[in-house]
């Protein structure tokens, strides 16, 4: 009984320490925007008034803005120069959004006809940013597909790093 009591008395501080550690870790992630500051590159899209910090592996990111399909909800179609360099059929350019598309809208995601899962949208001030991942390889080679998917994952992870641009 004495031993059990001692074990219990030891467990409680460890549990508290673990919870505190996780809290600190999560807080750091929130503050740093999901990735270490030293490993990010900042993209500024003046026409939409936003910035987005992306991992340095996406520093060669390219994009195209589509404001015509849904005028009140512009979409940003993303690719990278490294992926475009592997292009052999024109489908890896940003106009095909091979690593994903982010749509900015005032419409509440959960009320949209095709509601995205909670992992795929993020609130930025008065806007929601909705991410969609690519659906088909833009190049038939394993190398290109591997690069495409790894970059799509990085872009998805950057969704929470979109912010309204401040002067």
């Amino acid at each position: 009984m004495n031993i059990k009591s001692k074990v219990k008395s030891i467990r409680i501080p460890w549990l508290l320490i673990a919870i505190l550690s996780m809290f600190i870790f999560v807080s750091l992630i929130m503050v740093k925007g999901g990735v270490a500051v030293t490993d990010t590159a900042r993209i500024t899209i003046d026409s939409l008034g936003i910035t987005m910090d992306v991992p340095v592996k996406l520093a060669d990111i390219t994009y195209k803005i589509d404001s015509t399909t849904y005028p009140d909800s512009p979409s940003i179609l993303f690719s990278t120069k490294s992926l475009e360099a592997m292009d052999n059929n024109g489908q890896c350019s940003s106009s095909h959004a091979p690593i994903g598309v982010i749509t900015l809208t005032r419409h509440e995601p959960v009320k949209l006809e095709s509601a995205p899962s909670v992992d795929n949208w993020h609130l930025i001030g008065h806007y929601y940013a909705i991410y969609q991942s690519p659906q088909q390889p833009c190049n038939n080679s394993k190398e290109a597909a591997s690069l495409q998917m790894s970059q799509a994952i990085l872009l998805h992870s950057s969704l929470i790093n979109i912010k309204e641009k401040t002067e």
Partner: protein
């Protein structure tokens, strides 16, 4: 708690659990069997795993399936990461488990259509780019505008607007629409979780919801089965009527007093249904005419005084539709001729003087088109012969001397080609027999003594093969009955005393 009761109750719990699982599986299998037509093979590239766990460890079956094709997960960005897959060496790659992968996999397994690049890369463009990838492809892009209803096995594209930039795609697995209203069921991947990969979509006034913009329709199918009984008694109080599947209430078609003797069924308007009534009265004031769906006004075809007695319908120009009129008048100097779509000028295809009453049309050379002329003259030394495409020299099949009045052509060996010769001599001791491919030894089917004049061949059990024998004796004690595969016990259909003389089978 489980540990405390475990030692004493585990055997009972195990037994109870086993019984429950067994009963559950039994019920599931029975239910599943009743709702599934043909079970497609599992993808060879899955290496005998469920949802390709070798290529994509951690994959799982979402729960939904159609004809053996599984919806898999997890979806990308939903706990998973897309994995590249090639269905075969050199194939266009797809991502497991995107929605596109499911549609491409279904088309490959069900229709032998290789995956194709969608120039945009978006699922919403899968339908619109099909004809770009396959200009002569047999699937028909169909717009969701209220004038058409899809059928199970069709592949849709959808676009739900904002937040759905790439759109979505999937397979339509069930259609329950009456007078333009009802629901369809779809099979899909990578839709909002949680999901078993199936979803009900509402249909209102003929328009499908769910953002569906279009679908690829398989024109070989209406409901996929040639099992609708068309009755043309020529009597004004009945006219033309259809009983769907041979067991639903009659539905009236276009009023007409024309009898079966001058009618044939085909697909002239390319809607994928063998439900257009072709009338060839041979009278100059009428000539040849078509009523689309059996309900529309007559449309004139090529002027001709040739009667049905020397005509057959097939697909000679390889456009995928059974709408070409084949004439075998047997008159020297005319021979066999084809009018494509029933409207073009005659094209001579064979100089034979053989009459139509010894001919039938099927697909013996496996080119996918019903254009091979099968002759069963019954003359010793000639026997059965086939002219591929109707224009090659005769190739000898079985050495039988059986004549055409006791023969019919169908697909009994499930090789997807209409090349098996079915004999129903009605002679006791012989009964029904089939020669696969027309050149193998006879195989005995049902022991019936029913003659060919009260039989027809169709697909009533939805296994995708034209091998079910339909009997319409018109005798009240028998009525209409079906023998599945030609060798099962009779199953009664809708009660009727109508005889074969006024009946045709089609897909309405």
């Amino acid at each position: 708690m489980a540990i405390i009761i475990g030692k004493h109750h585990k055997p009972f719990a195990t037994k109870a659990c086993s019984v429950f699982i067994f009963v559950f599986m039994l019920i599931f299998l029975l239910f599943h069997t009743n709702n599934t037509s043909a079970v497609l093979p599992q993808p060879s590239w899955w290496d005998n795993t469920v949802c390709d766990t070798v290529n994509y460890p951690g994959s799982y079956h979402l729960g939904g399936s159609y004809n053996g094709v599984l919806a898999c997960g997890p979806g990308p960005m939903q706990g998973g990461t897309d994995h590249l897959v090639h269905f075969f060496v050199g194939a266009v790659g797809e991502y497991e488990w995107e929605c596109l992968e499911l549609s491409m996999r279904y088309m490959y397994l069900a229709y032998d259509i290789n995956p194709y690049y969608i120039p945009s890369g978006y699922a919403k463009d899968l339908v619109s780019y099909y004809k770009t990838a396959y200009p002569n492809g047999f699937l028909v892009p169909t717009t969701n505008n209220g004038s058409n209803v899809p059928t199970p096995g069709d592949i849709f594209s959808s676009n739900n607007g904002i937040g759905d930039y790439y759109g979505h795609t999937g397979v339509i697995t069930a259609v329950n629409v009456i007078n333009g209203n009802g629901t369809i069921t779809i099979l899909e991947q990578n839709h909002t979780l949680p999901s078993d990969g199936t979803r009900l979509i509402t249909v209102s006034n003929g328009v499908l919801g769910g953002g569906i913009t279009s679908w690829l329709h398989n024109p070989e199918n209406g409901d996929n089965y040639d099992d609708d009984v068309f009755q043309a008694t020529g009597l004004t109080d009945y006219g033309w009527r259809v009983s769907m599947g041979g067991n639903t209430a009659w539905q009236s078609l276009k009023a007409s007093t024309t009898t079966k003797s001058s009618l044939m069924l085909g697909d002239f308007d390319n809607d994928g249904y063998t439900d257009d009534v072709f009338q060839a009265t041979g009278q100059s004031e009428y000539g040849w005419r078509v009523s689309m769906g059996g309900t529309n006004a007559w449309e004139s075809l090529k002027a001709s005084t040739t009667t049905k007695a020397s005509l057959m319908l097939g697909d000679f120009d390889n456009d995928g539709y059974v709408d070409d009129v084949f004439q075998a008048s047997g008159v020297s100097g005319i021979g066999w001729r084809v009018s494509m779509n029933g409207t073009s000028e005659w094209q001579t295809i064979n100089g034979s003087t053989t009459q139509r009453n010894t001919l039938s049309i099927g697909d013996f050379n496996h080119d996918g088109y019903i254009d091979d002329v099968f002759q069963a003259s019954g003359v010793s030394g000639i026997g059965w012969r086939v002219s591929m495409g109707g224009n090659t020299s005769w190739q000898t099949l079985n050495s039988s001397t059986t004549t055409m009045p006791t023969l019919s052509v169908g697909d009994f060996d499930n090789d997807s080609y209409i090349d098996d010769v079915f004999q129903a001599s009605g002679v006791s001791g012989i009964g029904w027999r089939v020669s696969m491919g027309g050149n193998t030894a006879w195989q005995t089917l049902n022991s019936s003594t029913t003659n060919m004049n009260s039989l027809a061949i169709g697909d009533f059990n939805h296994d995708g093969y034209t091998d079910d024998v339909f009997q319409a004796t018109g005798i009240s004690e028998y009525g209409w009955r079906v023998s599945m595969g030609g060798n099962s016990a009779w199953q009664p259909l809708k009660e009727s005393t109508t005889t074969m003389d006024s009946i045709l089978l089609g897909n309405f």
